[in-house]
Symmetry: C2
Subunit: 573 residues, 2 copies
């Protein structure tokens, strides 16, 4: 319990006061809205155009008007009457008789609409247009140009070619001559984050809540004077965050889902079968660190950190080649742009016939298929992202010139060609993130690629299930190397994999050597499976989907690649 401090109001009291003030502001705003609605309803009464506009839930349109999506509008619609449902993105008044709007739908399909009063004169002198011409009043023009941006509206309009292309819109060679306009869902007069702000690069990714209400509004300004918003503001305005074309291109619409699609199609063509590992598991099987725990009907349950054991159970169960796409969890209190507590794993596991390099080849194949596929299929989306987050072209190796380095070779390269500070890196110790990035730069300069494989990690750097190299190769201080590897994009790890031990005796030895109790919960059941049946030689790997998207696009944070980034401080929305 926090006591009020005599020196001044407590934090709690301050927060309460703020909340109350906010509530009352909201109340006042709503009251104002109600009055405004009443006024406009009264004004409407004597408007001959009154049936052609308004705020209604189920408007009616002319029988000969075709409902069409913005993305489907093409020259064949020139001259036709259509109904379009879209977001009103912008509007301006040219004169009392004429207004312009910009409509948006389907991510970033935009078009210009214009509305021109057909009732001439004003007041008592006003005259209706000739029979057959749409009835449009000045009030209707005013109504349309006063709609709050980001409201969802439906318009009836005639499609026409504009006098000259409308450069500000994606659909530039057509425009809509609006004859009816209805607000289906009104946005409030003031948005928590405007479209312009949402379309700027995120100002900062700090997870810390700002200390006082004031600071929320003091976002730094980007070039051009449009204020950029922090990631917290983006998340507080999740719908506006998602409506920005950059976000539609990255996560909400195309690139992220395309990675999954490319992963799946490549593997299905090669006879991999999908399976679904559980999220809830009965034991913190992979060591117990960084695992979420929960009460489970009198037991304890854990959230899976990877589908590792389950992929192997599938192989033991005769599945030959499997893949999974699903959430994995890490209870790591890391507040960096590289970390999340929930992310999506793209995993695979396969029987090995002759050598674990069969696994490297499949994984290299699928990652190159993804990276090349993105360049080909998402060229437009990549351009949208780059217009907000500029990046250098991602360098892909030419076919047949893929780069695979042994861990020890890579460390040597780093010692010899990397920065001063890495002159003493060892072949028997894992790499740091800084080392990885430095190596990325060296490899890029030397081999002209942003994608490469590091193989034969020392066993000190790998979990107990990693199979040790058959030839007995050692590095550094007599440390054996494993048939295990990592893949890198722009010097950042996106994949870990390797051959797994399939012999139960060897597995038990390694478990003990790593200081793990082979009879501990989870481990015991894992070992039992290998003892219960013959398990063929196998290997696999896991790809971090969020990281592939983020590093391929050189985004400043992996949080931008997720639909709803989960961080230690943030679970909403």
């Amino acid at each position: 319990m926090e006591e009020d401090n005599a020196a001044g109001p407590s934090k709690k009291a301050l927060k309460k006061a703020e909340a109350k003030a906010k509530k009352e502001a909201l109340k006042a705003q709503r009251a104002a809205e109600r009055v405004a609605t009443q006024v406009s309803n009264i004004e409407l009464e004597d408007d001959p155009a009154k049936d052609n506009y308004g705020t209604v839930t189920n408007p009616t349109f002319s029988a000969d008007a075709e409902e069409v999506e913005l993305r489907d509008l093409d020259e064949s619609y020139d001259g036709k009457k259509v109904v379009i449902r879209a977001w009103l993105q912008n509007s301006r008044t040219q004169s009392a008789k004429m207004g312009f709007v910009e409509l948006r739908k389907g991510g970033n399909w935009t078009i210009q609409g214009l509305v021109l009063a057909t009732i001439t004169g004003t007041g008592a002198e006003s005259q209706l247009p000739a029979e057959g011409t749409p009835v449009i009043s000045r009030r209707m023009v005013k109504f349309i140009t006063s709609i709050n941006p980001e409201s969802f509206i439906a318009v009836e309009a005639q499609v026409k070619r504009p006098l000259e292309p409308v450069k500000s819109c994606r659909i530039s060679t057509l425009e809509l001559h609006i004859t009816k306009a209805f607000v289906l869902a009104a946005a409030p007069p003031v948005l928590g984050m405007t479209m312009a702000a949402s379309s700027q690069p995120v100002a900062n990714f700090s997870d810390e809540e700002p200390k006082a209400e004031e600071e929320v509004k003091k976002e730094p300004e980007a070039e051009g004077g449009i204020p950029a918003a922090s990631m917290l503001t983006h998340l507080d305005n999740i719908a506006m965050h998602k409506r920005a074309p950059v976000q539609q291109a990255i996560a909400t619409q195309d690139i992220r889902i395309e990675v999954k699609r490319l992963f799946r199609s490549y593997l299905e063509e090669r006879r991999f079968k999908e399976f679904e590992p559980p999220c809830l598991i009965g034991a913190a099987s992979e060591g117990g660190a960084n695992v979420f725990r929960l009460a489970y009907f009198g037991q304890e349950a854990f959230l899976a950190q990877s589908p590792q054991f389950y992929k192997q159970f599938e192989i033991a169960g005769g599945r030959e080649r499997v893949f999974s796409i699903g959430p994995v969890f890490r209870a790591e209190n890391s507040n960096t742009p590289r970390h999340m507590t929930e992310f999506t794993g793209l995993d695979l596991e396969m029987e090995i016939k002759h050598s674990y390099t069969e696994v490297i080849s499949v994984l290299e194949g699928v990652l190159l298929h993804i990276l090349r596929g993105l360049r080909e299929r998402c060229a437009d989306e990549i351009q949208v992202v780059r217009s907000v987050y500029p990046s250098e072209d991602f360098l892909l190796p030419e076919p047949g010139k893929e780069v695979r380095l042994n861990f020890a070779e890579a460390q040597k390269l780093l010692r010899e060609e990397g920065p001063e500070e890495f002159r003493n890196v060892r072949d028997d110790e894992d790499m740091s993130t800084a080392q990885e990035k430095a190596l990325g730069a060296v490899v890029r300069a030397k081999y002209n690629t942003d994608f490469y494989v590091l193989d034969k990690f020392p066993e000190t750097a790998r979990p107990f299930y990693a199979k040790v190299d058959d030839a007995g190769t050692t590095v550094g201080d007599n440390v054996r190397v494993t048939n295990a590897f990592d893949f890198f994009l722009r010097g950042q790890e996106v994949l870990s994999g390797g051959q797994r031990i399939n012999d139960p005796k060897e597995l038990e030895e390694r478990i003990r050597a790593k200081g793990v109790d082979p009879n501990s919960e989870g481990i015991k059941e894992y070992l039992t499976t290998f003892r219960q049946v013959g398990v063929p030689p196998h290997g696999g790997g896991g790809i971090g989907l969020d990281r592939v998207v983020a590093w391929f696009l050189a985004l400043p944070s992996v949080h931008l690649a997720a639909f709803y980034p989960r961080t230690p401080k943030r679970l909403l929305p």
Copy 2:
């Protein structure tokens, strides 16, 4: 802390003793195995065929032998030399010179192999075969026919047509004349569950652990004398559970994954975009009952019970039509064959143009696409399942004759044509599971379909976000009906859906009317999103993947449809 009871040993002590006994039995078994290996190694020394068989990790084969998967073997291989990796399913000795094996791979592709000694005579009188003929000794025949069933082996063999078709194998018109055989991963001499037992219907689905060790072995016997195993035994022997063709057909291989594929392809063709809702959420948003809670860096986190709010956020974010496929969680202590704590949801949400019946049409379309697609694409797998779990053909409505009943109509039908006990069911109260099943029988008899829709549920039976019927229709005791519906397979619910409230004022009213505090965590943020931006009219639904698979196949439990069923008492493996 449990104290030892003076009257006898405590449960704990008993368990400990059992565990110790088990451990020692295992030790003894392994010692015996080691001795056996040594003996066979000594015997091998003087065998002229010794390079052609054994237990090795990386055997070599003839350069002219082609590695081929069982499923790819066809008549074109007649006469060719091949290498096959597979599970040894069965073996028998015809004579000291000849043995037969049955190999299995890729789910349920099976083939017969035979091995015939080419070294004539025995002991000192033995004679090697002519140059160019494979060298096969009686010891080699003995070795092969002594391999423990379910070991993973590699054989080199000549493919030949058998004298008559091998009826017991799926590949019946070819057999393998084995010339080399190596055990790559040995199964133990005694399996925890044999393939024969695993292929029987599961004996019972009780989640209760048997009280004493004895009972585990006393499984009821199925017809034909092959013992059936309980679900617990199946889960304790997860690899053997998965290897059975029936399980491969249901979950591990084909039918379950095909449902996902059909769901995705139907929706993608109709411009639905995939998205990924989070599992970790910051508030028990849908009421708070049956939700898993966990400690989250000083806060509390919850596991999502459905992607409901997130689907709606996507619509608010301008996505138009979205779907998701992923895990959802229910902390419900229900130990029935219908319940699991983690299952896979197939969800969709879409903008509505004119009427919520657009949503019903899409959902009806996708479910019929799935059900028809399964019949067409998984005919073989369905037969495999039926051979173990017999079921009546699933009756699908003819195109254009889909059955949609209003809730009140359905209750009337139940009162008038259902069993006695349901003569007084009310139109303003939700249905029980028993009522649903009874209705399923009535509908089947009347309309000749196992698939139908119940629409217009009373608002008492739906959550706060369900949109009330615009016409103001009421049923029973003046209860309004909603634009919400359920879909049924064989009288069991597999889908819930409806139109959602998109107006923030209406939503707030309904939240209050349902007795929920609109300022409670989760709800507040949900409401805020609707206030922050205009949200178009929308609706959707969620399909339970596990249930679709289970009820379509008329399985005795939904647990059989899952890869790793999670129940209140069971989280392993």
